[in-house]
């Protein structure tokens, strides 16, 4: 009895029976109860669409729940706006940062603090420097946000909520935008914050991360809390099982049996945004029925290479030959028509038009040709049945084909893009970080799809910052560093140490 009461004294945040149904009928939180202890790192683990982000938005006052109660230090509270949350010393680092790019670090942080009418930026800058120093961070308060890398922007967010004296810190998928090195730094920072008595909620869909840093792990699935565990009493497999709710599909063993070269890239040179040489004489080929992986730390020319291949960036010299056709510096339209499909990393900005419907997005690359349209008139029936067909085949979860794509979860948007790209009878597929931001199940489905395509004789170029993904799928692995291909390894002959060394530029 005494035990339980001291336990309850330690609860800094407690939500009871939270329910939230969105206007479009999605039940995001279905009776969620959860508690956070003082000084713990508590992970909430679940797939995309499990309701984690909704729960966080409710706790931070961005949306109001339909029913349920929230207690902070044992007191019932109403959190109706972000300001209420800040006053209760709840701070959140959103997945999408709440920073204004054209303003400086100090101005952005000032915005989240109670301010006098006459703005004392010098004082705020001093506070930023002090806090940054206390957790061993370096940050220039006068830098504009738009000049900072994603990792640095995240630090600004952390310093911001510390400036607000937050005691409860919530990180919403903090690692999804970071490089492995930045993740390491972030985690040591989170541990540092814990040692200073802060209570931390970490929202993630990455099992390994949750296991490595948490004191407790709560699993969410389809809007409900499934279980709360400590890392010592569980393991990766059990967590993955709890998250997905059924057995994970195992990966198919397979034989490499590539055909003719489809895409031949020779001596490609491409400039980056700042006119620097981003791709420096890259040559490779892709055969039908194989997956060629390009491994490398992000920012070594992969993005520019992909943009050159898809016609989005000018090629300075070299050539891109596809089935005997020269595609060098051709328009994206020409390249698409030739039979090259593309799954972009930035789904929302490059992959779909969020405000158009699922059906419209599915015919984005073929809308102007029969049978979808004839002499400018679109055939709604054919488009609808085509869309329904793809929705069924690819298992896109959507109420109907007429709903705007922005309402779909990331995994379903990705399925939609894959469905569209493959319905075009392409011979080569360029997949750029295709599993970024996807949960375990969606990633598994995606990998299965890529593998099936390979069996059907399609040549796939897989660019990924996730080495596990590259190694799992590729027949051949090319390693890119500093704009060059610095190594090529066969699937059956992979030496992890060598790959890691090549990626980091060692010879």
């Amino acid at each position: 009895m005494t035990n339980s009461s001291s336990f309850s004294n330690n609860i800094v945040l407690c939500v009871k029976d939270i329910k939230k149904v969105y206007p479009n009928g999605v039940v995001a939180n279905d009776g969620v109860s959860f508690s956070l202890l003082k000084g713990e790192i508590h992970s909430i683990l679940g797939e995309n669409g499990a309701g984690k982000t909704t729960l966080i938005k409710i706790i931070t006052g961005c949306i109001t729940p339909d029913s349920g109660e929230i207690y902070v230090h044992g007191n019932r509270v109403n959190i109706n706006s972000p300001m209420d949350a800040i006053n209760l010393k709840i701070g959140v680092i959103h997945q999408h940062f709440t920073l204004i790019p054209s303003l400086t670090v100090a101005e952005n942080i000032a915005l989240s603090l109670p301010l006098n009418f006459s703005l004392d930026l010098e004082n705020i800058k001093k506070k930023i420097r002090d806090i940054a120093k206390s957790i061993n961070l370096e940050i220039n308060p006068d830098a504009k946000i738009e000049e900072l890398s994603v990792g640095l922007r995240q630090r600004v967010e952390i310093i911001k909520i510390l400036c607000q004296d937050a005691e409860i810190l919530i990180f919403d998928e903090p690692t999804s935008v970071l490089t492995p090195l930045e993740v390491k730094k972030l985690f040591s920072m989170i541990r540092e914050l814990k040692s200073r008595g802060k209570s931390i909620i970490l929202i993630t869909h990455k099992v390994k991360e949750a296991l490595s840093i948490s004191d407790r792990i709560t699993i969410m699935r389809r809007g409900r809390i499934i279980k709360t565990l400590t890392p010592s009493e569980t393991n990766e497999d059990e967590l993955a099982f709890l998250i997905v709710g059924d057995v994970r599909p195992s990966f198919i063993a397979r034989e490499s049996n590539p055909g003719e070269p489809l895409l031949i890239v020779k001596n490609l040179k491409v400039l980056g945004d700042r006119k620097e040489i981003a791709v420096n004489g890259v040559s490779f080929f892709i055969r039908s029925g194989e997956i060629v992986g390009i491994a490398g730390v992000a920012g070594n020319g992969q993005k520019e290479l992909v943009e050159a291949l898809t016609g989005l960036r000018r090629v300075e010299s070299g050539s891109i030959i596809f089935k005997g056709m020269d595609l060098t510096n051709k328009s994206p339209r020409f390249i698409i028509r030739s039979g090259i499909a593309y799954i972009p990393e930035d789904r929302i900005r490059r992959g779909v038009i969020p405000n158009l419907s699922v059906a419209e997005n599915l015919i984005l690359k073929s809308f102007d040709s029969p049978p979808y349209s004839r002499s400018m008139i679109m055939n709604r029936n054919i488009i609808e049945s085509f869309a329904q067909n793809l929705i069924n085949i690819f298992g896109i979860v959507t109420p109907n084909s007429q709903i705007a794509v922005r309402n779909l979860s990331g995994g379903n948007i990705q399925k939609l893009i894959v469905a569209r790209e493959l319905s075009n009878h392409a011979n080569v597929l360029i997949a750029e970080n295709p599993s970024a931001g996807l949960d375990v199940r969606s990633t598994e489905t995606l990998h299965q799809m890529l593998s099936d395509l390979r069996s059907k004789g399609i040549g796939i170029l897989l660019i990924s910052a996730d080495l596990d993904e590259i190694l799992k799928l590729s027949d051949r692995v090319l390693i890119m560093f500093n704009g060059r291909i610095v190594g090529e390894l066969d699937r059956n002959n992979i030496d992890m140490n060598k790959v890691a060394k090549l990626m980091l530029g060692a010879t």
Binding site: C62, I63, S81, P82, I100, L103, L111, S112, L115, L119
Partner: protein
């Protein structure tokens, strides 16, 4: 010759003032992400109520007060449409322009049915500043002007300070860049936008009042002469900065003063049509200035886009 130039520049200050007040007012709300095209109608209401107030009370200062109140009411109606009801900003602005034009026309004819053109017996005259107005050249240009000119000149650095050195300005600029981020930061987006609109209403209403109370002593629905729209282009030209707006407005005021001055020099049978052609000069300058100066101008990222809470 020197006296002519001094006269021209002194007229420039007077003709610029309407544009300075209006463009600075518009700069404030555009910094907050609102594109208020109803500034023309706001100015017209200011002129109309200013005229009515002064005509019926016989007191020019009560007229000015009415002009300011009219300006605030009009911008708040715009606020009601776009902030509270989240309607399209462009359409709301244009609708208010049409509405105010119709209302002013109707009530002017209703109030002064037939008969002689009503006019004010007095105008707000220049208020020479002791000592300063005696300085050669600068004195007559800057310090022998009406109170409107002084207010316009002071408002530029004052609003600059407000936008860039106060927490209000910081919040407003953040809203203008991205209202939903500002909201998530705990900023009361609507309240700040209403405050900006009230400031604009004061400045634009005053600009309208100046037309009837200090420049012309009569009212006509065409009195604003698209000055509100010129003010909108000045905002772009001044890069959403009150000091820039001040400079831009003076350039336009100068072309207007120039066309007035050249117009008086032309005599002969064609003088009437020539001076009408000359009066289009400020509008041509607006297009040319935007071509040159407005090309790379980058406004607040969220300008004109609606803000919906989740």
């Amino acid at each position: 010759m020197i006296e002519l130039i001094i006269g021209l520049l002194a007229t420039t200050m007077a003709t610029s003032t309407v544009l300075i007040l209006a463009s600075i007012g518009e700069t404030i709300v555009e910094r907050g992400g609102l594109l208020n095209l109803s500034i023309e109608g706001t100015m017209l209401i200011g002129a109309f109520l200013g005229f009515l107030g002064a005509y019926f009370t016989g007191n020019l200062w009560l007229g000015l007060l009415m002009a300011i109140i009219g300006g605030i009411i009009t911008t708040l109606i715009f606020g009601l449409l776009v902030v509270k009801l989240n309607l399209n900003q462009v359409i709301s602005g244009l609708a208010i322009n049409l509405l105010t034009y119709g209302l002013c026309l109707y009530f002017f004819r209703y109030t002064f049915s037939q008969g002689a053109m009503p006019y004010l017996k007095e105008l707000i005259y220049p208020l020479p500043i002791p000592f300063l107005s005696q300085i050669p050249i600068i004195g007559p240009i800057l310090f022998n002007q009406t109170i409107f000119v002084y207010i316009a000149l002071i408002s530029a650095p004052f609003i600059y300070y407000l936008l860039f050195r106060t927490s209000f300005g910081l919040k407003l600029r953040a809203i203008g860049e991205d209202p939903s981020i500002a909201y998530r930061l705990g900023i009361n987006v609507n309240k700040i936008r209403y405050m900006a609109l009230i400031l604009e209403g004061i400045l634009v209403g005053m600009a309208g009042g100046m037309l009837c109370l200090s420049m012309f002593n009569v009212f006509d629905v065409r009195i604003t002469g698209a000055k509100g729209f010129i003010a909108i282009s000045i905002v772009i030209l001044g890069r959403w900065n009150p000091i820039g707006a001040l400079g831009g407005a003076i350039i336009f005021g100068f072309t207007e003063a120039l066309s007035l001055w050249v117009g008086t020099l032309i005599i002969g049978p064609l003088s009437a049509s020539m001076s009408q052609l000359l009066s289009t000069l400020p509008y041509s300058v607006a297009i040319i200035a935007l071509l040159i100066g407005g090309r790379r101008a980058k406004g607040p990222a969220g300008l004109g886009s609606p803000f919906l809470k989740e």
